[in-house]
Symmetry: C2
DNA sequence: TATTGTTATACTCTATAACTATA
DNA sequence: TATAGTTATAGAGTATAACAATA
């Protein structure tokens, strides 16, 4: 890790969008995705799979529609992800007894393991941010993001 | 605007990823993109174009490579965006005199106008977030995001 | 040799619309 | 009729690799 004083390291000049959140979110997403792909490629799982896996684990028995809403995804988009998780034996689909239209989702023991392994990759991935912000500001950032998420979800109905 | 007490409106349970920034960024990006598309569709410009336009305006004479780095994009990805902006007469490419490999980018007067029009769309787009956070927390969120961006950019070299 | 911009190409992610099976 | 999940399909966004022009 070299400290390179030759880099200007100026904050990006956003111009008219200086007070807008969109461009920043996009940039961060691109950067994190790029890092995440190289980190999780060995496991052959696409970026969003771990998120879905974690959501299933935290909401066992959830339906796919409910899960899609939590993940901010279209229900169709979720099908393929769950397909893959199921094919790898990481998650299970069971028909709900009470409403046979619904799938009841759960994580398998294998899924739990993979989840934890990938979790360390994510943590490593985000380490630069965590290090730069420190524990306190990181927590603050997360809570502000949660409030932002809540706001857009409410706005979109 | 109805206040609907019937909605549980619980914060999403991220489980293992409760302290991770990635899933939240992804979700916000999806939500904002969806809203942004419906907002800017009348102008026929893809989501990222306004960001690039604003960056060009704020950094007149910038090269494409420099711009790509600022926007967090691959230089190849930027070519198509600039192509479109140029085709619509919103931005101009001129060969740099001092280094004839480089393009010197600038925004046309027409581009300035479109930029301002689209800016109002973006502002409307993000209004729910701004309203929910208030001016102070919004500013705080933006500055934390900027620090996060700086951190990942430095980490990625 | 190294860098800027370009092209060709392919892949990931996500959405829309139409379908089925249940309710 | 309405909802949960599925399929088929299409589109936006982005990256990699190879190339030409210039340094």
């Amino acid at each position: 890790m070299e400290s390179d004083a030759s880099k200007p390291q100026t904050t990006i000049e956003w111009g008219l969008l200086g007070q807008s959140i969109g461009p920043r979110i996009r940039l961060l997403r691109n950067a994190l995705t790029a890092r995440s792909i190289s980190a999780s490629a060995p496991y052959g799982l696409p970026t969003g799979s771990l998120t879905v896996l974690a959501l299933i684990a935290a909401n066992t028995g959830s339906s796919q529609t409910a899960l899609a809403r939590s993940a901010g995804l279209n229900k169709s988009a979720l099908v393929g992800i769950v397909d893959e998780l199921e094919a790898r034996g990481l998650a299970a689909r069971d028909r709900s007894e009470r409403d046979r239209r619904r799938n009841s989702l759960s994580v398998t023991p294998e899924g739990e393991e993979v989840m934890r392994t990938l979790f360390t990759a994510v943590t490593t991935n985000e380490a630069p941010i965590r290090d730069a912000l420190g524990q306190q500001d990181m927590t603050l950032l997360l809570s502000l993001l949660d409030r932002a998420i809540e706001a857009v979800q409410e706005a979109d109905g």
